[in-house]
Amino acid sequence: MNTSPTTAATTATAAPRRSRSPLELAFRQFLRNRAALASLVILGIIIIACFVGPLLLSNDPAASDWSAISMPPTLLGQHWFGTDELGRDLLVRTLAGGRVSLEVGLLGTLVSGLIGVAWGATAGYIGGRTDAVMMRIVDMMYAIPYMLIAILMMTLLGREFYLVVLTISAFSWLDMARVVRGQTLSLRTREFIDAARATGVSTPGIILRHIVPNLLGVVVVYATVTVPGIVLTESVLSFLGLGVQEPMTSWGVLINDGAQKLESMPWLLLCPAVMLCVTLYCVNFVGDGLRDALDTKER
């Protein structure tokens, strides 16, 4: 990693090593954390499996194998995770469902992160009355029961994938905005912000060029908390029958199906539930590792 040739190295002056940003240093610190690194690897395997797996496996998630109905998991046959009562292969369905769940989680985190950072940084930096109004809006949003809105949106507008993402994002940016605002409040008293003002940088310029880069660490850590939260919310919505629609599936949909046949076919619940749990654990471990790595950022 540190052998990549740069201009500094080739000019044979007193600067042989590459320049490292604070985020890069944190990343190197992260790589030393074994639990977090292992989680990152497992998470990577799950993500790749979910996105590539359904394409490679011969079974179609919606197709029925009438010769193997309600078959328990087996490593000998074609259906490693077993099949459901319609003869659909559970492995493919779990992976395809995982893709939807992860897409919702990542997209929702991205959207809520963008809104939350913009909102929180603006409120925190400008302060005063602007801050008060913006944060009261956040408080008001908190007071709205999101389930009610979700049920309304789904029943009125239909159970579309993008609607699920939109509904979840519309509420999950609130926490991000609060975290970011708090961080911004402490950042704006730092001398380099005064220095930027003394340089004549405009308010939007200061927020974009000086506040936001300094927030990245916190935002990344908080995003790792948001991803499982959104995946869980999607599962809850699906469990209630408000998530994505058949034949599309997600971990929440699969767990809902499995829970209803718990006594006769427990694998229908166990397989997707274990996948969900492992994924959430891994994301949490990665988040923990990132938090530790970014903790000593002033090196």
């Binding site: 007193a14 600067a15 001398e191 003002r197 003394a198 340089t199 300094n214």
Partner: protein
């Protein structure tokens, strides 16, 4: 002609549950082209707030009064947008602590070129070239390579040289340095002072130097303003002030300088350091007479009840003092 003319500047901070604090009161001074003005005072004397007010950097609860004329415009009444055209371009600023005044997440290049791109519309490439030249001017070795580094890869003294180079990129007429050497160790301090002196001489940049270190002022300033509890107590040319201080507080500050040898050439290493007994008044404390009276060896009853105004010192052009005791008495203070 005066470059910057400050008249009766006041800074008041409102407080939510208490009476407002007057951090700066009736401060006036002029800065001539290419000259260096030293503003001296203890912590809390209002010296930093004076320049923060000039650049519009006061916190939200700060209000200003009086006027500060620069190029025919009153800096105190300009909008943020108008101020943004002046600060960082015509007036540069160097902050106290170079460890915190550089953004840890941006390379030195991006921080240096910001002002050039903002005020001059210079292309990124030209800005980079100028920034490298500026770094070389402040004796940063390997400037072309170092400019791509992050601030944490620089030592404290180098960072302060980077901030000075940054402030000078737009060739400002005025450079405000707020305790530029306080956070640095002594040998580096000397380098920074030398650097400022050189820039003042070679580029003709006028400097407002804020410090609590009389030694720094002696080495650099043409004129000196001594502040105490938010007011000017004495203002004179550096030479006159150091040779013949006319205010008991100034005299106390000069006496407090540790010396390696006494006036008669002998030196007594074990001699205790001289101090000014007591503490400055707390911010917001109501003061009736002279703010320095409780600590002043020369104070008479009248000093505690009547506030001295800033008056011209007889026989000393551009010399001003705020003291009720006659100048002649200053000599009687035991040295």
């Amino acid at each position: 002609m005066a470059l910057l003319e400050v008249k009766d500047l006041g800074v008041r901070f409102t407080r939510r549950d208490a009476s407002p604090v007057d951090a700066v009161q009736r401060v006036s001074f002029t800065l001539e082209k290419g000259k260096t003005l030293g503003i001296v005072g203890e912590s809390g004397s209002g010296k930093s707030q004076t320049v923060m007010a000039l650049l519009g950097l006061l916190p939200g609860n700060g209000q200003t009064s009086g006027e500060a004329l620069y190029a025919g415009r009153n800096l105190l009444t300009l909008s943020q947008r108008e101020l943004n055209q002046i600060r960082g371009d015509r007036i540069g600023m160097v902050f106290q602590d170079p460890m915190t005044s550089l953004n840890p997440f941006l390379t030195v290049e991006r921080q240096m070129t910001e002002a050039l791109q903002l005020h001059r519309g210079v292309s990124r490439r030209d800005a980079r070239r100028q920034a490298i030249e500026a770094l070389q001017r402040v004796w940063i070795p390997d400037a072309a390579q170092r400019i791509d580094r992050y601030p944490h890869e620089f030592s404290g003294g180098m960072r302060q040289r980077v901030t000075i180079a940054t402030a000078l990129l737009t060739e400002p007429e005025i450079l405000i340095a707020d305790e530029p050497t306080t956070a640095l160790d002594v040998t580096v301090q000397a380098q920074i002072i030398e650097l400022l002196r050189e820039l003042n001489r070679d580029l003709g940049t006028a400097i407002i130097l804020i410090t609590h270190d009389m030694g720094v002022v002696a080495g650099l300033a043409d004129d000196v303003m001594v502040m105490y509890a938010g007011r000017t107590v004495e203002r004179a040319s550096a030479q006159a002030l150091f040779e013949n201080p006319t205010h008991p507080y100034t005299r106390g500050l000069l006496d407090a300088l540790p010396r390696l040898d006494d006036a008669d050439g002998s030196h007594d290493i074990d001699a205790p350091l001289r101090t000014i007994a007591g503490n400055p008044p707390a911010p917001g404390e109501a003061i009736e007479g002279c703010a320095f009276a409780p600590r002043c060896a020369l104070a008479k009853d009248r000093c505690h009840t009547t506030r001295p105004e800033l008056e011209a010192i007889a026989g000393q052009p551009d010399g001003w003092r705020a003291c009720l005791r006659p100048v002649g008495e200053m000599m009687e203070v035991v040295r």
